[in-house]
């Protein structure tokens, strides 16, 4: 349009009489282009939204439950609409989490608000990437919707610093295919010892018919729910009460040997467990190819939504007793943070507080089911958590013996550096034993070296 006007409208004086080269002269073209460029730039700077230019960015790691993936963007939209703002919401796939968040942090482009698993939080805290403004959000949510569930408060704290707003508790649980174990004459959940669990797995292990006794990862996937808990059952643990990493200990070695023997010696684990991603054991169980797995409640929710036949045939429990006691299980969680670089901290606080309002938060919990347990007491009384027999079983049998991933210490940067979801260190240790034939004590010593470096760099 601008080009036509600058060159003179051909229709103003009858049929066009000017040559094409004159109508689109170089000067005219350049002037029109310049004007269009300026207009576009001004338009872009003006924003043009109906929210008066108030914008916020929010990233979340993609949850493992499809229904939540579908609902979360709608919820964020509803929250944004209520606040009269625009929210740029992105769900980051689990396997891209480290690369996306780290490069964003490196370039000063972290979103205003972001949600991560608790084990990641100390890494951001230790680098000064979290805003103290999150305390206002924590207080407001507590005042408006509280009180908080006591164990949820652990998600918010690093030492005496309040760094995040808890979003959901995510306990791990052992899943048993009761129908398969019944047929083999084994009572589940196993209430005896780890050896009883191994015998139970042997009783149902039948790879020829496509069923494996235990689909536990021999890779980096889901470390806290597996080798992390087995350590406790043998009297060990990745750190002590003081937050010092304690890797190369006789107890941890015994635990590691028992765990990797499942693959190398007893062969009750699928061969591809060395290549498991976080969703692989979920998939194996959902496909009816595993009699026993350990995972968060995402599998329970997926069974409920996709495989009601297996949902009815499944019972859950904690890891059974080990030589040093038990039963035990780990629990993690997700929490929301505000970036130190955010220029919209007040808006971020408003956004977080609004997100916990019943009309937004309750539907998320309903579809999340067993994967996301409430962090606020008022939501813990929702019928889904009190009436559903499966969820009640989790609350009654697993929650009482569940310990934070960091037990017996607290969350800290050194632990986080070594054991974060994508850190790869546990996976390297396990695959070096199961794939390369390295002796467990050598593999454990390798992990201890990594831990020592992290401890020196980041402290407790």
């Amino acid at each position: 349009l601008a080009a036509t006007e600058l060159a003179g409208s051909p229709h103003a004086s009858g049929p066009p009489t000017v040559s094409p080269s004159r109508r689109y002269s170089r000067r005219g073209f350049l002037q029109a282009s310049s004007l269009a460029g300026v207009a576009l730039s001004l338009g872009a700077c003006a924003g043009g939204n109906s929210s008066g230019g108030r914008q916020l960015s929010f990233w979340s790691v993609t949850p493992f439950v499809d229904a939540v993936n579908e609902l979360l963007p709608q919820t964020v939209s509803a929250v944004a609409g209520r606040l009269g703002i625009e929210v740029d919401f992105q769900m980051i796939p689990n396997d891209q989490q480290a690369a996306r968040f780290q490069t964003a942090a490196e370039s000063g482009q972290l979103p205003d608000v972001f949600m991560l698993e608790e084990v990641e939080i100390p890494r951001f805290f230790s680098r000064g990437l979290l805003s103290p403004a999150v305390r206002d959000a924590y207080t407001r949510v507590g005042d408006e919707h509280g009180p908080w569930v006591p164990s949820a408060e652990d998600l918010a704290m690093i030492g005496s610093d309040l760094v995040a707003v808890p979003f959901a508790l995510q306990p791990w649980m052992a899943y048993y295919r009761q129908d398969l174990f019944d047929r083999a004459g084994v009572q589940v959940p196993v209430t005896g010892t780890l050896d009883d669990l191994l015998q139970a797995a042997r009783a149902v292990h039948d790879p020829a018919s496509g069923v494996h006794g235990m689909a536990v990862p021999m890779s980096d996937a889901d470390g806290p729910g597996h080798i992390g808990v087995v350590n406790w059952l043998f009297g060990g643990g990745w750190q002590n009460q003081q937050g010092q990493l304690t890797i190369d200990t006789p107890q941890n070695l015994a635990a590691l040997t028992w765990y990797t023997d499942l693959y190398t010696r007893h062969r009750v684990v699928p061969q591809d467990a060395t290549a498991y991603a976080p969703v692989s054991n979920n998939t194996a169980y959902l496909n009816g190819q595993a009699a026993f797995i350990v995972n968060t409640g995402s599998v329970m929710t997926s069974l409920r939504d996709e495989r009601p036949d297996l949902y009815d045939a499944t019972v859950v429990g904690p890891w059974p007793k080990g030589p040093a006691g038990g039963p035990a299980m780990a629990t993690g969680g997700a929490a929301i943070m505000i970036a130190e670089t955010s220029e919209n901290t007040e808006l971020a606080v408003d956004f977080i507080a609004e997100l916990y309002r019943e009309e937004h938060f309750r539907p998320i919990l309903e579809v999340w089911g067993a994967e996301g347990f409430p962090v606020l007491e008022q939501y813990a009384k929702m019928p889904i958590f009190t009436d559903d027999p499966r969820l009640r079983q989790i609350v009654e049998t697993i929650v009482p013996v569940a310990r934070s991933d960091y037990w017996p210490g607290e969350s800290g940067p050194a632990y986080s550096e070594v054991f974060a979801e994508n850190a790869g260190n546990v996976g390297q240790m396990l695959t070096s034993i199961c794939v390369s034939g390295v002796a467990p004590h050598e593999a454990l010593a390798g992990l201890a070296t990594v831990a020592q470096r992290a401890q020196e760099r980041f402290g407790g």
Binding site: Q271, D272, A275, A284, G424
Partner: protein, 285 residues
């Protein structure tokens, strides 16, 4: 005036290629953990790489992956190009179909293969079992002895059409009279291939070989979406190792940058070869 016209391209190159490359070289002399300032460590990163068995394994795996994959792609691509250069019904359709695997988006193709090769529920094992060829599942992507050949096979399947296209273009430029003259002289098919076809195709083949070598040396997506470099480090090539060092085990951008910096001379050499081959071809044309 020439400089004026090339200036925008030079600016883009400087910003999009030059700056990141210089930054990577600068980082390679530092320990650079994400979110923290860079600490100068001199040559420590390079020495640590050379002493790291995982790095040495990644170099060996990269070389095996590249040499074997490029060799197979070249041979299969050549054979298919010779076939497609002959007259037969539905030749045009077959030419289009052959291109399909190369034309499809890499991620889609690799994820498809990931599903086909799954040891527990993958279609390939199901088909082989039903045909009575195997009696227990084959662990294509988790058996350390099988995984690298499997990954190479997927890469060859996906990219051999590139060789087919390039070689086919070369074959179509060969003067038919050369073959007629050879036939009159009684040259066998093998001798015609050896003395006419191959020499005529070598210039384009050289370009294709150098390009494919560079692509395979830098390949990331095919391996990442099939195995993530596993099991263990059985398929960990340099690009995967670099990514793991940057974003997983060490979280050290400096150490990761030093891996890339170490690979630069080899890639630069290949680029020089490519430029020289291209220039020679231009001179011949």
């Amino acid at each position: 005036l020439g400089w004026l016209f090339t200036a925008p391209a030079l600016v883009v190159l400087a910003v999009a290629v030059g700056y990141p490359m210089l930054l990577a070289i600068w980082y390679s002399f530092h320990q650079k953990l994400f979110g923290l300032p860079a600490d100068f460590v001199g040559l420590e990163n390079f020495l640590a790489n050379l002493e790291d068995p995982r790095f040495r394994n990644a170099v060996a795996t990269t070389l095996i992956y590249t040499v074997v994959a490029v060799t197979f792609k070249c041979c299969i691509g050549f054979a298919v190009a010779l076939l497609l250069n002959r007259e037969f019904p539905l030749r045009a359709v077959l030419r289009s179909l052959i291109l399909l695997s190369w034309a499809l988006p890499e991620i889609a193709v690799v994820l498809g293969w990931n599903w086909l090769l799954n040891s527990e529920w993958g279609a390939l094992n199901v088909v082989l079992t039903r045909l009575g060829l195997i009696d227990q599942n084959i662990y294509w992507l988790s058996d350390p002895a099988l995984v690298l050949p499997t990954v190479i096979a997927v890469d060859v399947w996906r990219t051999f059409p590139f060789f087919t296209i390039v070689i086919l273009a070369g074959l179509q430029n060969i003067n038919k009279e050369l073959y007629e003259a050879a036939a009159v002289d009684g040259a066998s098919a093998v001798r015609r291939f050896w003395h006419i076809t191959l020499p005529q195709v070598v210039p384009v083949l050289s370009v294709a070989l150098v390009l494919a070598t560079i692509w395979n040396l830098n390949d990331f997506a095919t391996i990442w979406f099939l195995t993530r470099g596993g099991p263990g480090s059985a398929t960990e090539v340099l690009s995967i190792y670099t990514y793991q060092v940057a974003f997983s085990s060490l979280n050290d951008l400096g150490r990761a940058a030093s891996v890339s910096t170490l690979a630069m001379p080899l890639l630069a050499l290949l680029i020089v070869v490519l430029v020289k081959v291209s220039k020679r071809r231009e001179a011949e044309v």
